[in-house]
Assembly symmetry: C2
Homo-oligomer: 267 residues x 2
DNA sequence: GTTGGTCGGTTCATTATTTGATCCGGTGGT
DNA sequence: ACCACCGGATCAAATAATGAACCGACCAAC
C-alpha cells in the first residue's frame, strides 16, 4: 500500500460520532506506528485536509475539503441536483432515503434525508463507506456494473456484517439476476441487524451505473405492504435522478421489466 | 516535500475554469515526472479523491470530497452558519462578498455570494487559495494572527501579483498597524489589476483569528463614498459571523477602535 | 496508408524516502 | 511526586518512490 493511501485512510476514521481524533486514537484505529501516523497527520494538516484544535491538540477535518467539494459541486453538481429528489422521496414514503455513488469497489454516500416521522429511526452516517455485497444500494449498483467490477468485488472473501449477509458469490449472483429482472434490490438485515432496505440504480451519461438511491427502515416497520408501497416512488425517484444528472437508463429500463415489481422473497 | 503533499497538491490544480485535467496536463502543471504523477493520480482515485471520465480518461474531483466535507459540516458547520451572513452582506452592499479561513500560511475560501447587480463583476474562484500578503482578507487575518504566523509569512520572499502588491515586510507591517487600529483592511489592486477590496477578521472561541470576511468590487465602482458605505455593514457582518461561530472578539473590538472607520489612503 | 505528434499508461533498476524502536520534554490528572 | 499521555525528534534499516525509456492507441496531415 502506498504512502498516499495510508495517509488518506486517516480521514476515513472521522464520523459524526467521532468528529475529533487525537494522535493516540489514530494510532489505535490504524494500527500503525505513532511516528508514521504523526508524520502523515502533519502533512495532511499542512495541506488543509486536517486542522488541529489548539487546546486539545486533537485533529478534525480541515477547510481544504470545503474548498474542493465546492469546486466539485460547481462543475459537477451531483449533490445539489439529487438532494431535492432524496428529500422529496423521504417525505413521500416517510422513511430515510439516501443517495450513494460508486467509488472504487464500494459506495460513498452523497446525501440523505430522514423525515423523522416515527419514534425509531435508521442510523445513517454519511462518513461510512458502504460495502457492495451487504447493502441494497450495493447490489443495485453491482447488478448493472460491468463484469470487471463484479468480478473484483465477488473475487475477494466477503465480510459478513450480520448473520444474514450474503457472502457466497453464487448466492449473490442469483440476487443480482433478480435485481436485473425487477430494476430494484431488496435486502433484509444484511448490513445492520435491525434494518431493511431497498434500492434502485442511477445511471450516467453513457448508460453506466454511477450509484444508487435507497430507502431504509427499521425491521419493526417492514411490513410487506409498506415495503411494496415504497417501491414505486423509489423507482420513479431513481429515474428522475438519472435524468437530472444527464444520465440515460440502459435498455432494461425502457419500459418492460421495470414495470413489474418484485415479489416478496424474505422479510 | 513528502509524497503525500505532492499528491494532494494535484487536487489544487482544479478550478471552476479547469474542472477536468488529463495526465499530460497534470505533468505540465506540476513539472513532475509523468510516471510519478500517474501513480499519484491512481492512488488518489483509488481513495475516491479523483474519478476518471471513462471516455476522455481525464480526471475530476471525486466523491470522497463530498462525503468528508459533509462530515465536517455536520460536526463543525462553518459554511452553513456563515453562508447566510455572506449572502445578506452581498445583498446589502450590492457587491461580491466572500468568507475565507486560515489554512497554514494562506487562506482557503469557504463560500461567496455575488448579487450580480452590475454589468461588471469580480471574478472569484473558490478553488483558488488566497495569499496572505496580497489580499485584504489576508492582511485582516495577519494583523490579528500570532507573531509566529506573521514571521512565517513575512520571512519568505513575497510574490508580487500586480505592480501594487506590497512585498516589503516593513511596508506590510505598517499596513497591519493600520488594520489593527481600524479593525478593517483595505487594499487597492494588490491581487488583481482591476479589483479593490476590504476585509474584516473573524475570531474563534479563544479569541484567535480564524478567517476573514471580505467585500470586493471592480476598480471602476471603487469611489470613496461607495467604499465608505460598505465598511459599516462589513464590520457588522463580521461581528455577527464571529458570534455565530461561537467566537469572541479580542480586546480591540470591544467598542473603541472599531468605531472609528479608516480614512482613505489610496484608491 | 504512412508518418509524426499526442494521448494515457507501464516497466524496472536506481535511488531516496518512509519507517518504527527509542528517546525527549511538556502537560494534566491523581 | 507521580503516572499517563501528549506532540515531537532521531537515525539505521527497510521499503517505497522515482524517472528514463517504452508501449499501444488515437488523430490529423500529407
Amino acid at each position: 500500500m502506498g504512502t498516499i493511501t495510508k495517509a488518506l485512510q486517516m480521514l476515513d476514521f472521522f464520523s459524526r460520532a467521532r468528529p475529533e481524533i487525537g494522535l493516540g486514537e489514530f494510532v489505535r484505529l490504524s494500527g500503525r506506528d505513532k511516528a508514521t501516523v504523526h508524520r502523515h497527520l502533519v502533512e495532511l494538516e499542512e495541506n488543509g485536509f486536517l486542522e488541529q484544535n489548539q487546546i486539545s491538540r486533537a485533529y478534525r477535518l480541515g477547510p481544504a475539503l470545503l474548498r474542493l467539494s465546492g469546486v466539485r459541486e460547481v462543475t459537477n453538481p451531483i449533490r445539489g441536483l439529487v438532494r431535492p429528489i432524496v428529500t422529496a422521496l423521504a417525505e413521500e414514503v416517510g422513511e430515510l432515503a439516501h443517495f450513494s455513488v460508486l467509488q472504487g469497489s464500494a459506495l460513498s454516500p452523497v446525501c440523505h434525508a430522514d423525515p423523522l416521522r416515527h419514534g425509531t429511526q435508521v442510523h445513517f452516517d454519511e462518513a461510512e463507506i458502504l460495502p457492495m455485497h451487504a447493502t441494497s444500494s450495493g447490489l443495485a449498483v453491482l447488478a448493472f456494473a460491468d463484469t470487471k467490477l463484479r468480478r473484483r468485488v465477488l473475487g475477494r472473501p466477503l465480510r459478513p456484517h450480520t448473520e444474514r449477509t450474503p457472502v457466497d458469490p453464487d448466492e449473490i449472483s442469483a440476487l443480482l439476476d433478480e435485481v436485473r429482472r425487477t430494476g430494484l434490490s431488496r435486502l433484509d438485515r444484511t448490513y445492520d441487524e435491525e434494518v431493511v432496505s431497498q434500492a434502485a440504480p442511477i445511471f450516467g451519461a453513457t448508460g453506466e451505473v454511477i450509484g444508487a438511491l435507497s430507502v431504509a427502515m427499521p425491521l419493526v416497520r417492514a411490513r410487506p405492504d409498506h415495503l411494496r408501497s415504497i417501491s414505486r416512488p423509489l423507482l420513479d425517484a431513481a429515474r428522475s435522478a438519472t435524468r437530472s444528472l444527464g444520465g440515460v437508463n440502459p435498455a432494461f429500463a425502457s419500459g418492460e421489466a421495470s414495470e413489474t415489481l418484485p415479489a416478496e422473497h424474505s422479510a
